[in-house]
Amino acid sequence: MKKFEALIIGLVIFVYSVFISGAAFCDNAAAMKGVSAMWPAEIYGWKIAEGPTLYDSKTAYKYMNGAAELFIAFNMRTLTVLQYGKSGQPSITLEIFNMDSSADAYGIFSFESDDPGAGVGQGSEFGGGLLRFWKGNYFVSVYGDKPGTAVEAATLSLGGKVSSAVKETGGLPKILALLPDKVSQYEKKQAWFLHSHILMNQRFFIAYENILKLSGNVDAALGQYVRGKDKAYLLVIRYPSQAIAADAFNSFKKAYMPGAAGMSVKTENGKWTAVEKRGEYLAVVFDAPDEKYAAQMIKSQTGRIGEVK
């Protein structure tokens, strides 16, 4: 009887394993088919030496350790990696990230851009041998292992080829349009699109816990507004439903504005925080110089909601 039970258990495990690995293979094959036409076999004498290797959000950690979390926070679907080699020349690594949307491709590109543009894709930068660009749902990086005129020319050309292979362009995150360029004398200096409270805290620390209930299907736009040395922040968030927005509103009020009678509060640095919920949107102002300005900032974007839906 025991032998029979063991046989059955073994059979079940075998069938399950075949099913799972088969499903994974089909998924990978389908994903690979979608991107395989994106890269050339050769560029300026550099030929494919390794890859393509396909990763998804569960396996990307094997390739890039904890760095994968940044891409996953922008809804990465797959990552395809190839390495190009040429005798006597540094290797070139091509990384193609297929994101959930063009907004996410833009989001990951713009979250940390620092270098001059390179005229590739819908937005790009090139510095230190690294080309980064986004187009449609794709974010792409191309990197030469060592400096050199030839390898940099090949890096840029490879990026251009990949960009050309992406036929569809995509739009910027709509929610960014809710951030006005100017509110009174404060001008927008920087703006970020994101989904993750960890990344939010990197740009403007709010709380350890995710009190605003940010997640992969929640879009947020954070704007930094500057007047001289003064800085104020306007955060606009769109939730999948009004109920989730209400939950986030209550969570924020409880954690950040306990005891506040109204929708605004003077914080310990003498500045003002205000919050307002409208439909599935939440707007929060931090470090406004006074209550009136906080209300003005809130009003500056709520009137635009209907325009960008």
């Binding site: 950690y61 094997k62 890039m64 350790n65 904890g66 760095a67 994968a68 979390e69 940044l70 891409f71 979250f111 940390e112 851009s113 620092d114 510095g127 230190g128 041998g129 690294l130 980064r132 990086s141 990197y143 060592k146 400096p147 409270h197 960890i198 805290n201 990197q202 740009r203 620390f205 709010i206 709380a207 350890y208 816990e209 009190i211 954690a255 950040y256 914080t267 310990e268 640095n269 931090f286």
Partner: protein, 296 residues
């Protein structure tokens, strides 16, 4: 990681959040000096350790490691120094770092390995690993660890530190990413590593002092420092490493250009987890070898 009551920006502004929050919004760390013994950190450098093509001279590197071990253990020979750190009966894991752009050099791994074997450890009781440590029998059963990783800035933790290098011992490393990996020190209290680390080595041969993004190596901000930062106190080693990167940014940019994340996990490892000294006033830096551009 859950921390109980949610600590917000306002707690920081009130000054009620305690030491854990001190740097979460980029403010400087308070200079709290506890009455504890000074930690010693060895900074050993040699101009000949890397040639013009970036190739590491194994013999020179071995000599640097030996000098550091002699200095930290105050023994006359490196072998005697290693024997004071590692017992013959120890099961030894050498925790390295395999980040492909700037990894723990294989030459250093071999230099450590050869000295650990000379200390009498059976080769079957020795392993070198990074990502596979949780499944590695030697690491699972280890009684001693040697911790060696390259010094560089880091997207999640501000600085890639010796403290950070143990994140592969936990099943879900990303749980430690919030708030600039503030609670990395907690990993050092887990049974798999607690009390086992005999030596910490920040590999500062070619550190990276600035950069953007999670996965992007930037050779513009890498320089040939040609050094190792070595000590038994991981917090002190990391504090010195972080200070070196800060000083290099000052020298390069003419200002301490703001990083997205401050390395406040070093301070938290000191004040909350009591793992060592983070205050440079409590650290004796012993400099050996090449002095040009030492910065510290």
């Amino acid at each position: 990681m859950k921390t109980g009551k949610s600590i917000t920006r306002r707690d920081f502004l009130k000054g009620t959040a305690g030491i854990v929050l001190t740097s979460a919004i980029g403010a400087g760390l308070p200079s709290i000096v506890f009455a504890q013994a000074k930690s010693r950190v060895i900074v050993v450098r040699n101009a000949a350790v890397i040639d013009q093509d970036g190739k590491i001279n194994e013999a020179v590197l071995q000599g640097m490691l030996d000098d550091a071990v002699k200095a930290i253990t105050k023994k006359k020979t490196a072998q005697a120094g290693w024997k004071s750190l590692i017992k013959r009966s120890d099961i030894v894991g050498i925790k390295t770092n395999a980040w492909r752009h700037l990894r723990t050099p294989a030459e250093l791994e071999q230099a450590i390995k050869s000295r650990v074997l000379e200390a009498g450890v059976d080769e079957k009781n020795l392993s070198i690993d990074d990502k596979g440590v949780r499944a590695n029998k030697v690491f699972q059963n280890s009684t001693a660890l040697v911790n060696a990783r390259p010094l560089r800035i880091h997207h999640w933790s501000g600085v890639g530190t010796c403290l950070k290098n143990y994140i592969m011992f936990v099943p879900t490393p990303s749980e430690y990413h919030p708030d600039g990996c503030a609670d990395l020190g907690k990993i050092w209290t887990l049974p798999v590593v607690k009390g086992k680390t005999r030596l910490n080595i920040q590999v500062a041969l070619t550190p990276q002092f600035y950069g953007r993004g999670a996965n992007f190596f930037d050779r513009r901000y890498v320089w040939d420092y040609k050094g190792l930062i070595v000590g038994t106190d991981p917090v002190a080693v990391d504090a010195v490493g972080a200070e070196l990167l800060r000083l290099k940014r000052m020298a390069h940019f003419g200002e301490d250009r703001t990083m997205d994340v401050t390395p406040h996990h070093i301070n938290v490892a000191d004040k909350k987890y009591k793992l060592g000294n983070s205050d440079l006033k409590n650290i004796e830096i012993v400099k050996i070898g090449w002095k040009e551009g030492v910065l510290l």
